[in-house]
């Protein structure tokens, strides 16, 4: 089905690729990307090494983590040893505050993880890798709420980065042995006498086969194979307790044997008529191309995956080089996820990383906090991102980022009912460099100013009726003087549109 597209391409096609395979770009970066020609540009997405900078937060170093835990355990032990009949309550309260301090630190660590990841995406030369890290985080969704360890969430994030464009089969094996996932779906301490079905069920339903392609008995057999694991929370090492592993005969997907966990995963890929290829192809198509995929799209991409033995890199390369990927019907028809929305805006307006106190509340309002998916099925994509509440939050957050709403925020502050996020934004956030984005010569003509900003934010013309509204606003401003604030207001109007939610 996939036909290789010509090397020459339009700027709009280049923008489409960067919006979907990456996180959009400022005009100059986009035009440089475009000038390479389609084939070189696509190849560049696969040849860049994953980002090394910024370096992960220092607490992610394994020895620091070990020391922290040892220190906590020692403090805990020492307190316990001091317990006498007289001071029992006082010591108990000291132990409680020790635990609270640890939990607080843990939460702060997750926040630093979110800003580190955003910073990394902002700087990376390999945006496709980060799109795939997000894809896998959504596919093998794991939440810190249950895992309760920023360190293990970081380890999982790095695992997704190592396998980002690798092999789906191998990644599934790796995820089944990933400490954060194991904790999330109750694998540690699942014992042969009474195996826990949580992981087995989601492995089949959400990770590989999809609902309706396995039986309840298959789940029970798989759960028996995933018994006997033990996990050290201290360093995430996994051991197998042979006493608790069910080595008995199991029947799974029509095959019988004394299967262990890796053999179950092998059987999923070898004895399900290639179901995992179809399952993941549909999700990839919805993520990168169009949602929902038709059966024909899914089939074509699945065939490609099967041909490549589940290797993502050659599969996606063929997709991004194909005429089909650039079909006008698919362009500017994807609803941006909150992470896409924020990072695209950041790139398009050439913004620095917002402070965590602004970024994290915004992600919460918009409905996608990395490391906190709502459940094991991940975030609801596409239209699931948008409701009246999140749409207004997008408009308002855009207003904050582009510095268009300061005076309102100040008057709200006077009334004392503004949220913390708004306060911080008004005080600390510098906003875009409008002198560079909209230099004086552009501001002389409302049409030129509007068209330049449209190109920056939409990378293609918008409907004429919309453009006319923007121009009329710009013209009205020109009666006086087009200062930075006026440009900011125009940018805010442009981003406060249904059109801007699409890429």
């Amino acid at each position: 089905m996939f036909t290789v597209a010509t090397n020459s391409w339009t700027l709009e096609e280049a923008a489409h690729l960067l919006n979907r395979a990456g996180f959009s770009a400022a005009p100059q970066t986009l035009s440089k990307f475009h000038r390479q020609g389609r084939h070189k540009a696509v190849n560049s997405l696969f040849s860049s090494a994953p980002a090394q900078n910024p370096a992960p937060p220092p607490w992610t170093a394994p020895n620091q983590r070990r020391e922290k835990i040892v220190e906590f355990q020692r403090a805990n032990r020492e307190l316990r040893q001091q317990i006498t009949d007289d001071n029992r309550q006082e010591i108990a309260s000291q132990i409680r505050s020790l635990r609270q301090a640890r939990r607080r630190e843990e939460r702060q660590q997750t926040t630093s993880l979110i800003t580190w990841w955003f910073d990394l995406i902002n700087q990376t030369k390999a945006p496709l890798t980060e799109q795939m890290v997000l894809f896998w985080h959504n596919h093998f969704a794991t939440s810190r709420v249950k895992v309760r360890s920023a360190y293990l969430m970081f380890q999982q994030n790095q695992l997704f980065r190592r396998h980002a464009l690798g092999n789906f089969k191998q990644l599934t094996h790796a995820v089944a042995a990933d400490p954060a996932m194991m904790l999330y779906l109750d694998l540690p301490n699942s014992k042969k006498a009474n195996p826990n079905e949580n992981f087995a069920r989601e492995l089949l339903e959400l990770f590989t086969l999809g609902e309706g392609h396995y039986s309840e008995d298959d789940i029970k057999s798989a759960a028996r194979a995933f018994t006997g694991y033990q996990l050290s929370r201290r360093d995430g090492t996994i051991t197998i307790n042979p006493e608790q592993f069910d080595r008995g005969r199991k029947t799974f997907l029509g095959q019988s044997g004394n299967f262990d966990a890796p053999q179950i995963i092998d059987l999923i890929f070898s004895h399900s008529s290639d179901r995992p290829a179809y399952f993941i192809a549909a999700k990839l198509w919805a993520w990168f191309v169009n949602d929902p995929p038709t059966d024909r799209n899914t089939h074509a991409l699945a065939q490609l995956l099967i041909k490549n033995d589940y290797q993502l890199s050659p599969t996606l390369r063929t997709l991004f080089l194909s005429e089909q990927f650039y079909s006008p019907a698919y362009r500017r028809n994807k609803i941006k996820s909150p992470v896409d929305f924020l990072l695209q805006l950041q790139h398009q307006l050439e913004l620095p990383l917002p402070p965590a106190s602004l970024l994290v509340p915004a992600l919460q309002q918009l409905g996608q906090v990395p490391f906190y998916p709502p459940n094991v099925a991940g975030w609801k994509q596409g239209r699931g991102w948008i409701n009246t509440n999140t749409l207004l939050a997008r408009y308002n957050y855009a207003g904050l980022l582009c510095k268009a709403s300061d005076d309102v925020i100040r008057s709200e502050l006077a009334k004392g009912r503004s949220s913390r996020m708004l306060r911080i934004a008004a005080r600390r956030w510098q906003g875009p460099d409008y002198a560079a984005i909209a230099p004086a010569e552009l501001r002389a003509s409302p049409e030129q100013l509007t068209d330049a900003l449209i190109q920056r934010l939409f990378q293609q013309p918008v409907p004429e009726s919309l453009r006319a509204q923007f121009i009329s606003y710009a013209r009205n401003k020109m009666a006086t003087k087009v200062n930075h604030k006026a440009v900011a207001e125009l940018v805010h109007l442009m981003t406060s549109t249904p059109h801007y939610q699409l890429c």
């Binding site: 109750d186 079905e197 929902p292 409905g367 009246t388 207004l392 207003g399 207001e489 249904p498």
Partner: protein, 437 residues
């Protein structure tokens, strides 16, 4: 169209005018605008909601363990199958000689004693599905377990019975729009932070900015005239059926604009009369109470209380969740009573499934099937409905249901919301005597 002073007036008139005209703008069409023009003088008022019934749906997400919520303490099999998780008779709030409420539900017990709490036992559906996602979908779409639907049961109620009302007919306090609200015409709105539920813009010429904002957030007439809205895609999308992504976004933007001024002003004017606990469920219900006080015409509110998927170390987690639920309901119903609105409000809980009878090795329970649910409030005829399912006559280790959840929906629709359940549920279900005469 130029006869309207502003585009906003045009849209308000057309949208809200539909109520008086008695039919629905499937999407705002030119035909409708023309038809409506004649009646615009009588049609620009918002409906107020001083008298109508209000249903608050509380989703207990993750699969609530019914057996440790409404406990069959007198049944030896309960203690036998749950050596570590079973609740002792002395730790429970007895409803009769056989069943008792979990001790963390003292407020619900007092509702029961006052005759305002209905405990419905053995609720489920044929051929139960044990996947969270699929079973939630079955409850939200109210289909047979081998069928799917692009609309939810609440959305179909809006479509059938709340034609032309303003978009606040349904409000979800949940992060995602619930599938239950998916509708052909009227999917309701989502709300979580009312202070931010408006477009915050800071131009000097705010009037012009607002005017343009309204314009660019209105359905584009060039899109509206197309026939594209008739093709149905089979995917499980929220919102209206058959819209393109852009049409979907434009419609949500319009709903947001129409509802935002009102909600922001209600939020500013109405503060809770009681102290709500800090839990998310309590905060959501506190917001619901403020919206009710502000007399929104909302028929159905939807709140979410998550974390019930207790595969491991269940006891503390489950007790804490029930305690949060109880504290939240206590604050809410006290608030509603103080407002004088108690007679209008009914609360219904649901969860996608109960949990397995026997505990697992990790001091937790795996996914099950039938479970009890609660319906409470002043309009409710309190009591115990149905018998407790047998703990030995099981379906793959799980309790068997005897009351289809759609019977409860049918009862809500017919007896409480006073509308016809058949177009909503697709077929008749027996109703229960759940409400006071």
């Amino acid at each position: 169209m130029k006869t309207f002073a502003t585009r906003r007036e045009f849209l308000r008139t057309t949208l809200l005018g539909a109520a008086t005209l008695g039919h629905v703008p499937g999407f705002i069409s030119r035909t409708f605008a023309a038809e409506d023009f004649a009646t615009r003088d009588s049609a620009t008022q918002f409906q107020t909601g001083k008298d109508g019934p209000i249903l608050v749906i509380v989703q207990l997400a993750g699969g609530n363990d019914g057996l440790n919520t409404v406990v069959p303490f007198a049944d030896d099999d309960y203690h036998r199958q749950r050596p570590r998780l079973a609740k002792k008779a002395k730790d429970l709030l007895k409803l009769n000689d056989h069943i008792a409420l979990n001790t963390n539900l003292p407020f619900l017990k007092s509702c029961f004693d006052d005759g305002d709490l209905a405990v419905l036992q053995g609720v489920g559906y044929p051929n139960p599905n044990r996947s969270h996602f699929r079973s939630t979908e079955i409850w939200e779409t109210a289909t047979d377990s081998d069928q799917t639907s692009t609309t939810g049961w609440v959305g179909r109620y809006f479509d059938n019975a709340c034609q032309g009302m303003d978009p606040t007919v349904g409000i979800s306090l949940k992060k995602n729009h619930p599938q239950a609200f998916s509708a052909k015409h009227q999917p309701g709105i989502a709300l979580s932070a009312p202070d931010l539920y408006r477009w915050i813009h800071g131009g000097k010429d705010r009037e012009q900015a607002n005017q343009i904002f309204d314009d660019i957030n209105s359905p584009d007439s060039s899109v509206m005239t197309g026939s594209s809205i008739t093709d149905i895609d089979g995917a499980h999308h929220t919102g209206k059926v058959g819209e393109s992504n852009l049409e979907f976004l434009e419609r949500v933007a319009l709903d947001a604009r129409i509802s935002s001024e009102r909600i922001a002003s209600i939020a500013a004017r109405h503060r809770p009369t009681v102290q709500y606990p800090a839990s998310q469920i309590a905060q959501q219900l506190g917001l619901v109470a403020r919206m009710i006080a502000g007399q929104l015409p909302t028929r159905i509110y939807y709140v979410n209380h998550g974390g019930f998927d207790t595969h491991q170390n269940q006891l503390n987690t489950h007790d804490r969740l029930l305690s949060q639920l109880d504290g939240a309901l206590k604050a809410f119903l006290t608030d509603i009573r103080a407002q004088g609105n108690a007679g209008r409000v009914t609360i219904m809980t649901f969860s996608e499934f109960g949990r397995r009878v026997g505990e697992n090795q990790n001091q937790g329970t795996d996914h099950g099937a039938a479970a009890p649910l609660f319906v409470c409030g002043a309009p409710v005829q309190g009591g115990i409905y149905g018998t407790h399912p047998s703990l030995t006559d099981l379906d793959k280790g799980d309790l068997k249901f005897h009351t289809d959840f759609r019977s409860i929906y049918a009862t809500m629709l017919k007896e409480f919301l006073h509308s016809n359940p058949i177009p909503v549920l697709g077929k008749p279900f027996p109703t229960l005597n759940l409400f006071k005469a």
